[in-house]
């Protein structure tokens, strides 16, 4: 618990001092404006909720991929990884704390996009199912955090991490049905998409903003959490393995 809090507080301080942390918070309202413009110009105000939700998911994913993903690698370059390993608190708990902080910051984008939509396009969407919306957002953030741990572990292993980071944004936005639901993709993609918690989150979030009651809410929410938990478990296992290997090979610090 202490490691979690230490990590959370550390990241809060790092974020305050790091302009890059603002990137997802600046792009979210911009994307919201872009999507709303498209949707409005085509006269489809029923798609406004979609236009507002997509940027939030994109920002959270970006945080998991880029900011959280490069965390361990950056620590290693900064020669901070070794001392953290040598400390009696587990690296995993510190990592989770830091990621939790980033996700909390990322959730601010939710408020931003609504504000941008209202200010610029006069969009006002009633929250038909506020509790379900809130729960889905939290579940999504948790699943994102789990995925972030997996990214952090993976990227410290790969040499060309940044190439992957660059390429793993939009492919996942498409396959995860972040803006355009997976149902509109070719049939053969659907099995792949259903493995991503993103597609479940996106569908569920859109459903909570529509008038009719949300079908199968609890089982769909559970899918988000389960898929996120599986990713977290895999990530944690990879992390332990990677750290152990680095300890054996003497790679915890760069030369």
């Amino acid at each position: 618990m202490r490691g979690f809090l230490a990590g959370f507080l550390l990241e809060l301080r790092v974020v305050r001092a790091n302009p890059d942390a603002l990137i997802p918070l600046l792009t979210a309202p911009l994307f919201a404006i872009i999507f709303l413009a498209i949707v409005r110009q085509s006269g489809r105000s029923d798609l406004e909720p979609d236009a507002l939700l997509a940027p939030v998911l994109m920002s959270l994913w970006w945080i998991a991929l880029v900011q959280a993903g490069s965390m361990i690698t950056a620590d290693r370059w900064q020669a901070v990884l070794e001392p953290v390993i040598a400390a009696p608190t587990s690296l995993a708990s510190v990592l989770v704390g830091r990621i939790a902080c980033l996700m909390s910051v990322g959730l601010l984008s939710f408020f931003e996009v609504w504000l941008a939509g209202w200010l610029i396009f006069g969009v006002s969407i009633p929250f038909e199912h506020p509790l379900e919306l809130a729960l889905t957002l939290v579940a999504t953030a948790l699943a994102m955090a789990g995925t972030a741990v997996a990214f952090a572990a993976l990227f410290v292993m790969t040499r060309n991490a940044y190439t992957f980071i660059n390429s793993a944004s939009f492919p996942f936005y498409v396959l995860g049905g972040v803006l355009v639901p997976v149902a509109y993709l070719p049939d053969w993609i659907e099995p792949v998409s259903s493995l991503l918690f993103l597609s479940w989150s996106a569908d569920l979030l859109r459903a909570t903003l529509k008038e009719p009651a949300v079908d199968d809410f609890w089982s769909r929410l559970a899918m988000v959490l389960v898929l996120g938990a599986i990713t977290f478990a895999i990530g944690r296992a990879v992390l332990f393995h990677v750290l152990r290997r680095m300890r054996a090979k003497g790679e915890l610090a760069t030369a």
Partner: protein, 316 residues
């Protein structure tokens, strides 16, 4: 119970690429450090000092052999070892540069299981102790090398470790700061801590440590008291003189304990001695003859090694 026990530790680094070389960083090294001792690990760069320190601080696994810190195995009992040790690796990196010195310390305090309040208090105490209290709220990226070094020491003490591993802690420090640092290390020992100090600075090893282990190319060369080291240092001094006449040089050559008198490009004449007390005689002769462009220097670490290895088994 000894503070540190190293038993036949070997550490090999396999090459990453096929073209690389296999490096034996530590070769069958054994060492014991009793509690409350400041033990120096003296050796040139690449000798294996850092490798040994990393193994003992649990961030590197040995290829073979065992080591224990305060009775706990460093490979299998990391949970027991880590709360007991403090590490000062030093250098330009190793700190979160966007945070202030104080924030860095509080983070490390939390990692060493201190409550927020305790971390704040101890952080402040340590900042004062290392003389960084007035710079504590500036970002680390603004710190000079020496300031970072002092912060590293404070960070290493946040966990209140019983055994401290210091790896080249005074590199890059100016002489005054380095001297303060060494006083501080003495204080830490008086508090009952054990300190393993890795360094390539002979003077530092001689002045601070209770015992010194010399290590070179992964092997232990000798374990000596600093007095012995000091004796070697003072014995094998050299004197460089410019403008000395042949007359005075032949007098010097005739002195017992002078091992060589040779002309060296750019230096003038280099006079090497191999007995204690001879340097003084040489200097007196030179000054009497009116030679004032004189410089003395200590032997290099290599030369000391050669002398020690060469005289193994003989009384120094």
């Amino acid at each position: 119970m000894e503070a540190v026990e190293v038993e036949e530790i070997t550490r090999v680094f396999e090459p990453r690429r096929r073209s690389g070389t296999r490096v034996v960083a530590l070769d069958d090294v054994s060492l014991t450090v009793p509690t409350g001792e400041i033990h120096g690990l003296l050796g040139p760069n690449g000798a294996g000092k850092t490798t040994l320190v990393k193994i003992l601080s649990t961030v590197l696994l040995p290829t073979s052999g065992r080591a224990r810190v305060l009775g706990h195995d460093v490979v299998d009992e990391t949970h027991a070892v880590r709360p007991l040790i403090g590490i000062v690796f030093g250098g330009e990196r190793g700190l979160y540069w966007r945070l202030t010195g104080r924030q860095n310390l509080e983070y490390w305090g939390a990692l060493y299981k201190l409550s927020t309040r305790d971390a704040k208090t101890r952080g402040q105490q340590l900042l004062e102790r290392v003389g960084m209290a007035d710079k504590a709220d500036e970002r680390v990226e603004e710190y000079s090398r020496g300031m970072k070094q002092r912060l590293h020491l404070a960070r290493g003490l946040m966990g209140d470790g019983k055994v401290l591993f210091l790896d080249e802690p005074t590199t890059g420090m100016d002489p005054l700061a380095a001297r303060e640092f060494r006083t501080l290390i003495g204080e830490l020992r008086d508090e009952g801590r054990t300190i393993l100090l890795a360094t390539h600075d002979m003077v530092e090893a001689e002045t601070v440590c209770d015992r010194v282990t010399l290590i070179d190319r992964g092997k232990i060369v000798a374990t000596e008291s600093p007095r012995t080291l000091g004796q070697v240092l003072s014995r094998f001094q050299r004197v460089d003189a410019e403008g000395a006449s042949e007359e005075v040089l032949s007098k010097i050559r005739a002195l017992p304990g002078v091992s060589s008198v040779a002309a060296v490009d750019g230096v003038g004449t280099r006079i090497e001695v191999d007995e204690e007390g001879v340097t003084q005689l040489v200097l007196e002769l030179l000054v009497e003859a009116g030679v004032t462009s004189v410089r003395t220097s200590l032997p290099s670490l290599d030369e000391v090694y050669v002398q020690l290895i060469g005289e193994r088994g003989m009384e120094i």
